[in-house]
């Protein structure tokens, strides 16, 4: 019996077993940001410990940075957090991609674009969307702040081994169906808690055909399905993406690439569970409630608690509809929006902005809708500028902002006000997620967000744009 990528990477990185039975796992790459690291450095200082391998930790600032006048936050708490990260990086000798580096951005965008994210490695970060890096065939997962301390001090973590669920999607996606729709559909089917205890292996023709950036969108939302990590096996696309990136050692690249590819799951690998889906069954998907598994196709109606199969499900639908102020049984299409947000570690990469820019020319954001476009990193922003994308977005009435997490979790000034409803390319539709305790979020692909911004309401992008033309990005 062969091994899955998860098992190969897990076995290779196991240092030993600690007394409670957990494994001590070596963490190849540690990524940190300003929100979940300051307390960890404080713990190190309290214990008189150093960072064991400073060259294996990389820092950036993303959660609290403003997207206007980025280096001068008006919020003194934000300024203090940025200063703390600067001081901690300096004191402990950690590489810091700060705002003046030209490389700052959302930590899950920065890692891949720098080539820090590599196949066959373990990656940890005090952020649940660390699974994004699994797109490269890494075992990457979010950790708490005390665990950030553990990685800083020892480059290891105490962890329980996960089971592996292979999720195969075969066949052809229909035009206008994106990576975001695929993962929202998977989460809808398997549930927000369906992945607890599992790593998700995304496999089959659909993921094979996806670009690295699309794979990142899928892996990013693994945690929304309860899976702490998710990955796609490395292939020629993975190798081509990483070739020549700053942190990739090019001295014997063919040997490096061969080693990376050797981590891919064996054809006879053991899986604890296998789920198979047909790509053609997936339609553009949007959420209607307050959990990422509250998804429906754009053509469907909002669920009705009267048709719930259990009392728990009925209560859950009622709670969600009361919060979202949506009518049971009504179409989701046509629900008015106030704000549109394109960005985040889910959908803030160059291909996302290119794809939207293909369709919005000649259109304009609807009156009364605020539409924000936030690149995932400074490098993405520069690339967009070189391709003239900001002008296209501005001409269509979108606001073009600086790089960061922005309105995905609204720790910076980009927040919903009152019960505004946001069409969002981000990853969570939790109550209050976008900065207002009564704010409402509907998750969808960036192209669907653009369509909603232009129409002023939740829209089937296929009816507004000609999505039958092939995408420019493979």
């Amino acid at each position: 019996m062969g091994k899955s990528l998860f098992q190969k990477v897990w076995d290779a990185h196991t240092v030993g077993t600690i007394s409670d039975g957990r494994k001590q796992l070596f963490i190849g790459t540690h990524l940190i940001h300003e929100v979940t690291s300051p307390q960890a450095f404080g713990m190190l200082r309290d214990l008189g410990l150093k960072v064991k391998f400073p060259q294996r930790t990389f820092a950036t600032v993303d959660h609290i940075v403003p997207t206007i006048n980025q280096d001068a936050p008006q919020d003194p708490l934000a300024a203090e957090m940025m200063q703390a990260l600067r001081a901690n990086a300096d004191d402990f000798g950690v590489t810091y991609f700060d705002l003046s580096s030209g490389k700052q951005g959302i930590v899950h965008v920065v890692g891949p674009e720098q080539g820090i994210t590599q196949p066959g490695t373990t990656i940890a970060c005090g952020d649940s969307h660390t699974a994004t890096h699994g797109a490269f065939g890494a075992i990457a997962f979010g950790i708490g702040t005390t665990q950030v301390r553990d990685v800083l001090a020892t480059q290891t973590l105490a962890l329980e081994e996960l089971k592996v669920r292979r999720i195969e999607v075969n066949g052809d996606l229909r035009p206008g169906v994106y990576a975001k729709d695929v993962i929202l559909h998977i989460i809808r089917l398997l549930g927000a808690k369906g992945g607890i205890g599992y790593a998700y292996e995304y496999a089959g023709e659909v993921f094979d055909r996806m670009s690295m950036e699309e794979r990142m969108t899928v892996c990013n939302m693994s945690i929304e399905g309860g899976a702490r990590c998710g990955y796609v096996n490395p292939d020629a696309k993975t190798v081509a993406y990483l070739h020549g990136r700053p942190y990739v050692d090019m001295t014997d690249f063919s040997a490096t690439a061969a080693r990376w590819l050797s981590f891919a799951s064996d054809s006879d690998a053991h899986y604890d569970d296998v789920v198979s889906l047909n790509a053609a069954d997936i339609e553009p998907t949007v959420t209607w409630g307050i959990s990422p598994d509250h998804g429906i196709f754009i053509s469907e109606s909002i669920p009705d608690p009267a048709t719930a199969s259990t009392p728990l499900e009925k209560a859950s639908i009622e709670e969600a509809l009361a919060y979202m102020k949506l009518d049971a049984g009504a179409p989701i299409k046509g629900v008015k929006i106030d704000v549109a947000f394109i960005g985040s570690c889910t959908n803030g990469r160059i291909s996302d902005f290119r794809e939207v820019a293909r369709f919005i020319q000649g259109h304009h954001v609807a009156p009364g809708v605020q539409a924000l476009v936030v690149p995932g990193s400074q490098i993405v922003a520069i690339q967009c500028e070189q391709e003239g994308l900001p002008e296209i977005f501005r001409a269509a009435g979108f606001e073009w902002r600086g790089a960061g997490c922005s309105m995905c979790l609204a720790m910076n000034p980009d927040k919903l006000v009152g019960d505004q409803l946001c069409a969002s390319s981000s990853n969570r539709n939790f109550k209050g997620r976008q900065g207002s305790s009564t704010g409402r979020t509907i998750l969808m692909s960036p192209v669907m967000v653009a369509a909603a911004a232009i129409k002023g309401s939740i829209t089937d992008a296929r009816e507004l744009f000609d999505l039958n033309t092939p995408a420019s990005v493979a």
């Binding site: 001590q24 190849g28 214990l47 702040t145 808690k193 728990l312």
Partner: protein, 199 residues
Amino acid sequence: MALEPVPSVLGSAVFIPGADIDTDRIIPARFMKCVTFDGLGEFAFYDVRFDEHGAKTNHPLNDPRFANASILVAGVNFGCGSSREHAPQSLRKYGFNGVIAESFAEIFYGNSTTLAMPCVMASAADVATLRDAIEADPDTVVTIDVQALRVRTSGGLDIPVTMPDSAREALLSGRWDPIQELLDNDASIDAKAIELGYV
């Protein structure tokens, strides 16, 4: 590092209804603008305890009958979403010392164990029975017995609960914070770093 073993915790309890209670709900992101965990207790469940005008809602944590609760009882997938340790930190600092739920999200679970806050899983039926008992008598003392894997109440309930062997062992042996054991394996860590070409 010698830490206090946690064979059991006890106190009065409060039931917080709803599935998939996420860490944004437990501690809204804006309260994470801080460089220490101090002071997070007052912000636990803030946006569901207070409306947009700052007035108290009818959330169970605002119910004076449960003002002294130190055991939290909840439904499925408690603590889902973000990895923020601020969530269990805020619960600890609010005064909770244990959680009983139908199920937990993994990162929250690990963070809680590392803070010596036992989290145990009970069946939906047993959670409902427990809920009814504490709502009938809010002074009911609820004991989470980590050693025996039982939850008992002063009213005579005695229900089986589960938790991963490793979490139970870590709590019982006082090794819920693994840092010393991780540090002790320094030579093996160095060897692994070299073997895998990381340094």
